[in-house]
């Protein structure tokens, strides 16, 4: 009885303070979120604004709204940065390298995840170590040169065939697929490659989508490697075309902004297309157990 009588007296006393703390926490959350939003969206908005301005207008008013929303910067940038031919190169490199990388990564990640060979953990550790190593630019360059693949499509694609982070994501995701599926398939008479490609692959779609997007964006946005490994104008990817906007005495910022916006569009589409898988792919280890 005493406890029952005391309870209603205590509750109203404690509630306002709880509510107050909660409100303060919420306010702080919003402030932090807003700060980060400004930090992320601000430059993007500025890029969009800049892409609609003429060069004199940009120098007069670099941060304000554009006077008009004409598309002339886009059409000029399209021609100047040789988008039509470079875009095809970029698509080719990204699609071929990503496809090969993802398929081989799945075939490598599966036996590592299952421990189907001796030293599987050691191999995984080596992939993790590889994440922390600096890029081996000079030996890599020597290798490509000695293979006679300098300034070739094959040589350039070869640079993007391995992605340690992709292997790690796939290994962790495959670990959440019950091992009994392997055994059941073995009893049913399903061969190894058929099992990996027709049973495992559809089950790890989120991880594959994640690796695909991460890898594709990496190749698509790469500027340093094409500058080093490609010298032939016919082989340049679209990022290399952006150099056209860099003048001797200054850059054409509005046209560069327009080109950058056009450049990011395909990856944005890919991301939007695969994003429903990606969220679960990135959080897989945390919730699947």
């Amino acid at each position: 009885m005493t406890a029952a009588q005391e309870a209603p007296v205590e509750t109203p006393k404690r509630q306002p303070s709880m509510k107050g703390t909660f409100k303060r926490h919420k306010l702080l959350t919003y402030v932090v979120l807003l700060a980060f939003t400004v930090l992320y969206v601000g430059p993007l908005l500025m890029l969009v604004m800049t892409s609609f301005k003429s060069l004199p207008e940009f120098f007069r008013n670099p941060t304000g709204l554009p006077e008009s929303f004409g598309l002339s910067n886009f059409t000029e940038a399209w021609e100047l940065a040789k988008f039509p031919s470079y875009l095809w190169n970029s698509f080719f490199y990204t699609a071929v390298a990503t496809a090969i990388c993802v398929v081989t990564s799945v075939l490598v990640a599966f036996p590592i995840a299952r421990g189907y060979f001796k030293g599987a953990n050691l191999v995984l550790t080596m992939y993790i170590v590889a994440l922390f190593l600096p890029p081996a630019l000079i030996p890599q360059f020597q290798l490509i040169l000695n293979l006679g693949l300098f300034n070739t499509r094959t040589g350039f694609i070869l640079l993007f065939l391995v992605n340690p982070i992709g292997i790690i994501i796939l290994v962790n995701y495959i670990k959440s697929v019950p091992r009994e599926l392997d055994e059941s398939a073995a009893v049913d008479g399903c061969g190894y490659y058929r099992f990996v490609l027709t049973i495992i692959t559809p089950l790890i779609r989120p991880a594959i989508a994640t690796v695909t997007v991460l890898h594709a964006i990496g190749i698509w946005n790469e500027l340093v490697l094409p500058t080093i490994y490609l010298t032939n104008d016919d082989l340049y990817p679209v990022t290399r075309g952006l150099i056209a906007f860099e003048g001797l005495y200054g850059s054409n910022w509005p046209q560069l902004a327009a080109a950058v916006l056009m450049l990011m569009l395909p990856m944005l589409v890919l991301f939007l297309f695969l994003q429903r898988y990606i969220i679960s792919g990135l959080t897989a280890g945390a919730v699947k157990g």
């Binding site: 009994e180 599926l181 055994e183 059941s184 073995a186 009893v187 049913d188 008479g189 089950l203």
Partner: protein, 382 residues
């Protein structure tokens, strides 16, 4: 027509852990054999060796007339049902059931027909286009069964297939699997840790402990004539009360209690006389203990006086826990840490009025007592 023969099989892992010791078992054609034991006893390992999912370290395994030691799982003509069903989540029920047939390049028309037949048998006809994620636990379990049935294999191997179901569904599926197995007449090895499943489903039950076969027999024989203390305690629920007692002539003395053994006991177990004056392990099943006030006629030397610790009224009976000042015997079941807790459990007639704290006179059906050697833990018969 397929029998399975396991002959002196060992399983030793690379880290030198021996999971199976010299296991020999014969499963006759069409027989339902249950492998039962506590966790880590090697029952699943034994089954997986039959399936070919684990290599055999020594001994010989035969399915039918064929030695299968080095034959791949897919070529052993067996079908396996796993604890978590191992259904392919992205395939429909029909595709799951027909997958093995598709791999075997059976014509599409025949696959459809056999899948439909299996689905009908398992009442899954309405679910064929659904994916496993849309099914209940029981339905998924039936799909797993369907996948095994449709192949028309020489043997079914089932690894705790009912463990993931709730208690009520488990009872129903237990009956369904038994019925199906009898209907199809396929040789079956079924692994479980649940002794009730083992007793109700198996034609014969093999009890394993620490990778060693303890006893293989019909459920009733296991219950009536357990080979050792472990089997005695493992089979039956609540489990057999086991305590150390001294045999003195035709009496046994444990703690402050004495019971008189009838001549029939010595006639059944001639070997018992040799233990006169020694300490042995005595086992008494809870159903052989009752509230003495409800038993008539009550013979002299068949009761023990005690105090009730706890009663659990189940409606059809009262499970009474009472004190017993005799040293308990440890049956060595790793899953039941409190087996050697002392005290005893009885299944009283529901009319009993005794409650916790009451003094009670417990009537013992002395004719049904079990006796085991203290050192070897084996049953005393001859």
């Amino acid at each position: 027509m397929t029998s399975i023969s396991i002959d002196r099989v060992d399983k030793i892992y690379p880290n030198n852990f021996q999971a199976i010791h010299n296991l020999s078992l014969e499963v006759e054609d069409g027989e339902f054999l249950v492998l039962v034991g506590p966790s880590g006893c090697g029952k699943s390992t034994a089954l997986r060796m039959v399936a070919g999912l684990e290599e055999i370290s020594a001994g010989e395994m035969k399915i039918g007339d064929r030695v299968v030691n080095d034959i791949e799982p897919k070529n052993r003509d067996i079908a396996m049902v796993f604890q978590n069903y191992a259904l392919y989540p992205h395939k429909t029920v029909a595709e799951n059931i027909g997958f093995a047939l598709k791999l075997a390049k059976v014509p599409k028309k025949e696959i459809a027909q056999r899948v439909a037949e299996a689905a009908q048998m398992l009442e899954l006809s309405e679910q064929l286009d659904k994916r496993p994620g849309q099914l209940s636990g029981g339905q998924r379990q039936r799909v797993a069964m369907g996948r095994a049935i449709v192949r028309e294999p020489a043997a079914f191997l089932m690894d705790e297939p009912l463990s993931n179901l709730d208690a009520k569904l488990r009872v129903q599926m237990r009956a369904d699997i038994s019925r199906l197995q009898r209907q199809l007449g396929v040789t079956t090895i079924y692994v479980t840790h649940d002794q009730v499943e083992a007793m109700t489903m198996g034609d014969r039950v093999a009890v394993l402990k620490d990778g060693r076969l303890q006893q293989v027999d019909t459920p009733q024989e296991l219950y009536d004539r357990p080979a050792n203390v472990f089997v005695a305690a493992f089979i039956g629920s609540p489990s057999m009360n086991l305590f150390e007692a001294a045999l003195e002539g035709n009496e046994i003395r444990f703690g402050s209690h004495r019971l008189t053994l009838p001549e029939a006991t010595f006639a059944d177990r001639p070997g018992l006389r040799a233990y006169n004056g020694q300490t042995i392990i005595v086992g008494v099943r809870p159903e052989d203990l009752d509230d003495a006030s409800l038993v008539s006629p009550l013979e002299a030397g068949t009761t023990i006086a005690s105090t009730v610790d706890l009663t659990e009224a189940l409606g059809s009976e009262i499970v009474a826990h009472f004190e017993l000042d005799a040293p308990p015997a440890d049956p060595g079941n790793p899953d039941a840490a409190d087996d050697a807790r002392g005290g005893a459990v009885a299944r009283f007639d529901p009319r009993s009025t005794c409650r916790a704290g009451d003094s009670v006179e417990v009537a013992v059906t002395v004719r049904n007592l079990h006796f085991f050697d203290l050192g070897t833990h084996t049953s005393i018969w001859d």
